[in-house]
């Protein structure tokens, strides 16, 4: 069993003309490396009709619908995060209710509003009530604003997690660029750390020492296998962890931790 907690698919209204090929390629690469379930999100139109990280409500609905259709077509392989834009509070809450009701298993927050902002609270309250995790896009150590996104870093996500201790947060793509050591320091925190933040190992970054540092900061109990755009790097990290961890701990990273934070019944083994 292998659960990818950070996958993306595309649809016909994204900029990618090869969206069908990329979706098929993800499923095929997943089969090759043994991914049982892709837990995916679609960020609106990925920039075609509204910005990737500031998706408009119509684009969010279209993307979420496309993902629901994919999950319907591949019930044995695809689950969904409902993607929302916290700047449209009422829409976000309604979209979460709609998509969770249709079978999605988590909430995706990209970079439409800083994690420290109060506008994220209503969404986190819904997450707590529905018992679903929040996958939050993170720029590892955001020293300044980056164009195209109102990104949050690990410390900012940890502040949100501290305000919502009943919600399980997934810190996105520790290998996705930026100073991952800054994020790991935030997760480690002070006494007790921030226990409701899990680290998603996805991203194209395959830095030597990163996996050891993740284990040191959070232990195998809070690491989650993920890929994001690059399955090859996800597979590389998995292969590395196979040599680093005993089988019981490797299983935690591969799927058991994920199974414990998503709603019961989200995956075949539940």
């Amino acid at each position: 069993m292998l659960i990818d907690v950070h996958a993306h698919f595309y649809h016909d209204r994204t900029p990618r003309a090869d969206w069908r090929e990329r979706n098929a390629s993800r499923l095929e690469a997943g089969r090759k490396i043994g991914i049982t379930i892709h837990v995916a999100s679609i960020l609106g139109s990925f920039g075609r009709t509204s910005p990737t990280y500031f998706p408009s409500p119509p684009d969010l609905e279209y993307g979420n619908d496309a993902l629901l259709a994919l999950a319907h077509d591949h019930p044995d392989a695809v689950r969904g995060y409902v993607t929302v834009n916290p700047n449209y509070t009422a829409h976000a809450c309604a979209e979460i209710a709609r998509c969770l009701g249709a079978g999605m298993v988590g909430i995706k927050l990209a970079a439409s509003r800083r994690a420290t902002d109060a506008l994220l609270d209503p969404i986190c309250e819904v997450a707590a009530k529905r018992g679903v995790p929040v996958l939050h896009h993170v720029w590892q150590h955001r020293r300044h604003d980056w164009p195209g996104q109102e990104a949050s870093d690990g410390a900012e996500l940890c502040a949100l997690a501290a305000r919502h201790p009943k919600v399980r947060f997934i810190l996105a793509h520790i290998g996705g660029g930026g100073d991952w050591q800054h994020s790991l320091a935030a997760i480690r925190g002070g006494p007790g750390g921030v226990p409701n933040v899990y680290i998603d190992l996805s991203g194209s970054g395959v830095d030597g020492g990163m996996l050891e540092a993740c284990l040191d900061a959070a232990g195998p109990e809070r690491l989650l296998f993920g890929t994001d755009l690059t399955i090859d790097t996800g597979w590389a990290k998995l292969r590395y962890l196979e040599r680093l961890l005993p089988p019981r701990e490797l299983e935690l990273v591969m799927w058991r931790n994920a199974a414990s934070i998503f709603p019961r019944g989200a995956f075949p083994a539940d």
Binding site: D18, E21, R22, S25, R26, E28, A29, K32, I33, W139, Q140, H141, R143, G177, G178, D179, W180, Q181, S204, G205, V206, D207, G208, G209, L211, E212, A213, L229, T230, I231, D232, T233, W235, A236, K237, R239, Y240, R243
Partner: protein
């Protein structure tokens, strides 16, 4: 046979780096099925005289036939020509230069002289586009990344120079390859370490548009885990002949010193 043209030994100044010793490298090679590694001395990339690390490199690799030393050359320092001679004497498959880390123009007169000398000595020159992802570098690590224009200038500067460019992404490879004549492009080799594999089609596309014969296997270890380069080739499921060409055949045919 799998040959890694992009490996280092030694400490990195900006973060803790497990497996940076010779023993660590050998262990990683065994773990990932790498038979031979072209090895450079990582600490001296940052030294004022990077050539001062070559003696250590030669000594450290001497007792391990699977490690092939790639000594550093700083063409702005007196005596650099001796390194080319020593490289030949020591059986080094190539020499490397990191001009931007040395503070010299990557396509300036010193580099052009070095390129010509490497061409005359029949010794390939290894140049890295970057060592780390630019988004994560240490706040004091401000060395610019190598520009594609510099590689185009170097390959044009001497008709015999052969370049092995490491850590280049798809856009960089395409810009240089299609910005060069076929004859120039035939003297360029690219390691696969920074090119995205499946589900993205970047490496697959490059192998089709630029040609399998232009690519060599490289990892960037221990700065990057070598499993990454192996995994992207495994996912592509290339015909055995193409896989063998990338992993060693292209080196044997085009880059033998």
């Amino acid at each position: 046979m799998r040959v890694d043209v992009n490996a280092f030994v030694g400490a990195y100044p900006y973060r803790r780096l497990p497996g940076a010793s010779v023993e660590g490298l050998l262990h990683a090679m065994e773990r990932t099925g790498i038979d031979v590694a072209w090895v450079s001395h990582l600490p001296s990339v940052f030294w004022r005289d990077p050539m001062a690390g070559n003696a250590w490199l030669f000594q450290a690799t001497a007792s391990s036939p699977q490690l092939r030393p790639v000594p550093a050359v700083h063409p702005g320092l007196a005596g650099w020509e001796r390194v080319l001679g020593e490289a030949a004497d020591r059986g080094a498959p190539a020499v490397r230069c990191d001009p931007l880390y040395y503070g010299i123009d990557a396509a300036g007169p010193e580099m052009r002289v070095l390129a010509a000398a490497c061409g005359a000595a029949r010794r390939p020159l290894v140049v890295a586009v970057r060592l780390e992802d630019g988004r994560q570098r240490h706040v004091n690590d401000r060395v610019p990344e190598l520009a594609a224009a510099a590689v185009r200038a170097l390959i044009r500067s001497d008709e015999d120079v052969r370049l092995v460019i490491t850590h280049a992404d798809r856009g960089f490879v395409e810009e240089v390859h299609f910005g060069s004549t076929p004859e120039e492009a035939a003297r360029l080799w690219w390691d696969v370490s920074w090119i995205w594999g499946p589900p993205e089609d970047q490496l697959e596309t490059l192998l089709g548009t630029i040609g399998v014969d232009r690519f060599v296997f490289g990892t960037g270890q221990p700065l990057r885990i070598p499993e990454s380069s192996v995994a992207k080739l495994d996912l592509l499921e290339l015909p055995p002949g193409q896989r063998a060409a990338i992993e060693s055949g292209n080196l044997a045919q085009g880059l033998a010193a």
